[in-house]
Amino acid sequence: MHELLLMAVISGILMGIIYGLIGIGMNILYGVMRIVNFAHGEFMMLGAYMAFTLNRLWGLNSLESIFVVLPLFFILGLLLHALFYERIQQSDDPEIASFLTFFGISLVITSVILLIWKADPRGVPFPFSRVSWIIGPVFLPLGRLISAGVCALAIGIISVFLYRTYTGKAVRAIIENRDAVSILGIDVRRVSALVFGIGLSIVAITGCLVTLSFPAITPVQGQTYTTIAFLVIVLGGLGTPLGALLGGLVYGLAESVSSVFMPVALSPVVAFVILILMVMVRPQGLLGKVSTRI
């Protein structure tokens, strides 16, 4: 039992880091632009299917695909920003407008995936996919370990960007008070475009890594990841980028540890119970400071 629990904790932490990165992508977009990216999971699946195609075409594995998918998603982010940002910001309620816009985009992406790749589950072979590290009583699947490692590296790079670079500081300043930033001479529109590009680049990374962590991908998985991203950022704190990492860890651990004591199908329920308790006790999330607008 103890070994099982230990494995569940380690697995929960590994998945929590991946969930954390999924949440960070959504949280940065929300924090800077008040854009609720309801298509987050679908973009992830698009990234995952692109990794699948790159594997079929050029034999690239999931990690190698990141180097192709990431720049494409960055450009896609800039394009989406140019298409929708002004229109959404000029609406009476940018949050609702963005929610509806991206809900529409999520439907389009799912349809495009079904059209191109069909509904059959797909997988990307990885040289070490069947290898596990065995440390004492604990089995660590190498694919998931590498995924968590890459996510941790990405989170580290994002943290350095946000806390050490001037542009990152501008991003944090916009999250706190976008009007004040504009009066200080910072072009909010330009920084927002960059953030949209970075947000989708993060999605590209997580999309490619999904193919490494799970044996199969399907077109309808996107909604699950969007829900996880929402859950993670509400747990961690809306608009606080690194709060998402904490939220991801809480969600990952709750999902994994609860599966030791109850049927696996019920483990998401535990995570949602934690979410409901969090909303009741600390609505601003673990690292958030206010419960409504920041």
Binding site: K169, A170, R172, E176, N177, A180, G185, V188
Partner: protein
Amino acid sequence: MEPLLNVKNLEKSFGGVKALDGISLAIQENSVTAVIGPNGSGKTTLLNCINGIYVPEKGSITYRGKPLVGRKPHEIAALGIGRTFQVARVFKKISVIDNVLAPVLRSRKSPARLREQAVQLLKRVGMGDLAQHGGGDLSGGQQKLIELLRAWIAESDLILLDEPFAGVHPALKARFYGEIREMRRMGKTFVLISHDMKSVYALSDKIVVFDLGRIIAQGKEQEIKSDKRVIDAYLG
């Protein structure tokens, strides 16, 4: 002499209410112009039109001969117009020194030199030991000083001060006076909105009085004090 800032026939309405009703104002370089008036007379709306937060329906604003209406706030800031707010807009989760450096994020100057300058400015106003604290740790008065230091480090030539002395401790207020006078010696120009008449008289060269979106009087201290329209506006 061509004024630094020239406002002509400015009009701005909110719903059916005219917040600015044909305001014309010339601000000379290296001067302190105080704008006073009862609450709701349009003083802050004027500042918001100057730095691009509001777009006026009519009239023009030129700064060093360049039109400002239609430009975005960040473009106006880049021209050399700084601003402080009635409720200071300091980033609470960002360090005090980075708050001071916020307007020079895209500067071509060496980041190390700018950082050193920010440290010196913070020391100058007695906040050197607070450099690494979060903006949220500062008192309201200290936050207002940070806004002034931002205008200093950004080398803004025209600084719009919106109620800088409201709710500020007398010791900090004295420091504010000193810094404004020093910046003026450096050639800076100020537009000062304040209800604190002692500060207005102590600092300004010219006083402009607003009421219901119009200028009802302008001149020096004695002219304003003896103007019947000003007395009526304040006392009803």
